[in-house]
């Protein structure tokens, strides 16, 4: 279950994003690790190889896991994220609707009709992986990633919605954009979204887009 993936990195496999988040949060609370980062189905611990041997790190992690990992505290707060679908804000929207055999309205109804959970934050500050996308909206990542995706962009890929908090390169198909601020380095609370949080999307008109 524990695998060394570098001289100062240990990786653990887990079953699901909530399991990864719960294990990562628990490890952060119970040890002096340099980094504990959750993926979709794994957690990687970066330890200080000068202060702690790999075997000691491994034993410490195994001890914590054996003691039981408390389930992730799921937030009851529901955050509503306004989205302008299509047009210049969602350059892949029309093509996606065509590929999926859905009208624009049907796509928007499906995407805004469900409640989702944030699986994880990562890649760039505030980038949110939101799970639970309707199977009728499943598409793979784009073969050629874009060099630049604008901040606030909303993409879909592999059964998830991705929220680009910042402009960055990216490979998700872009369906729209939100004016909701997803990261503010200067704010006391720089990240409004956290893993485990509930979110919904709400369609707004392009003239309602105000950052």
């Amino acid at each position: 279950m524990l695998k060394r993936c570098g001289d100062d990195l240990l990786s653990l496999s887990v079953a699901s994003p909530p399991d990864a988040q719960a294990l990562a949060a628990h490890l952060r609370q119970t040890g002096a690790w340099l980094e504990v980062v959750a993926g979709i189905d794994s957690v990687v611990v970066r330890f200080d190889a000068t202060a702690l041997g790999a075997e000691a790190a491994r034993q410490q992690i195994e001890h914590v896991v054996a003691g039981g990992v408390p389930a992730l505290q799921e937030s009851e707060e529901l955050l509503e994220i306004p989205v302008v679908y299509g047009g210049e804000y969602g350059p892949d929207f029309n093509e996606l609707c065509r590929d999926l055999g859905l009208s624009r309205d049907a796509f928007i109804a499906l995407h805004t009709g469900a409640e989702y959970r944030v699986d994880m934050i990562g890649f760039t500050p505030g980038f949110a992986f939101v799970g639970g996308l309707d199977e009728r909206l499943r598409v793979p990542r784009r073969k050629e990633p874009r060099q630049r995706v604008e901040a606030g962009s909303i993409g879909i890929a592999d059964g998830r919605t991705g929220l680009y908090a910042l402009a960055s390169p990216g490979g998700w198909s872009l369906v729209g954009r939100t004016p909701y601020p997803l990261f503010d380095a200067q704010a006391a609370e720089p990240f409004p979204l956290r893993a485990g949080m509930r979110v919904r999307f709400r369609a707004i008109a392009a003239d309602e887009f105000e950052v």
Binding site: K3, C5, G6, D7, R28, R46, G122, F123, P125
Partner: protein, 314 residues
Amino acid sequence: MSITVVKPGLQTTIQSRPRTGLRHMGVPACGAADPLSLALANKLVGNHWDAPALEAALLGPTLRFDVPCAFAMTGAQAAVTLNGRDIPLHETVFANAGDELVTGATEKGARLYIAIVGGLAADEVLGSPSTCLLTASGGMQGRVLEAGDALRLKSAAAPEKLQTPDEFRPPMLASWALRACASSETHQLSSNSRDQLFDTNWTVSRRADRMGLQLEGPTLDVTSDGRMPSAPVFPGTVQCPESGAPYLLSVDAGTVGGYPRIAQIARADRHLLGQLRPGDRVRLLWRDAQNAVDDLRAKIEYWRQWLGDVERII
């Protein structure tokens, strides 16, 4: 009390220590791409190793000192003049008010470090004054330097004049060796590709920056479909994207990625990623993870003689 930026150079930023403990929120490390050279420069002006200093990539800046000021430069080999006179790297230099420092193109190595006595004033964000270009925060308003910027100084002290002893001047090369360990998806490489990863004299492509460096050489194949659920990555992670060209992640890299992680540069050698430049040759040297830790301890013991607590630096 300031230094005026006359010409900014190609990509000059204020850098210090990395951001640590925040990768689970998507916050990249940033900080000096070659932290050892940052520490060497700060040592020469009596600063703590991570005092905010300038990192200049490939083409350095032209600066005018508005007050008398001690500074020192380390890192990439470059022609540097103060009021038209050549000045050396690796020693404390005392500038007078009005003096102009011209740093040219780096000849070997990619990044030049310019440390100023007392350190530069910089925006501290999420635990570090290092510039984060991605989030446009830290350092000088989160951006590269521009002509006309005033770099604010925090001290007017005159430090002791020092030179880096010869044996502590890292060689700047055109051909590099990086020790590397197996990572989570190394087993997904075909056996031929696995041999190629460690037997090839790779060339650093033009796509080489603080995010990462793409290598040119044979096309590697992985036995999986090349995509995987997003998983944690770190500076030093070697990814194999669908193009089959290995990509070495550096200090500004994102925190998770969806491409197979085929190797991990050993901690002992990650500081070298900041000095690889397009066209340089690079070989990856296979190391068992435990041997890589021994290499790290040996490197720390060596550098401790000049820099003290070097385990905080590399």
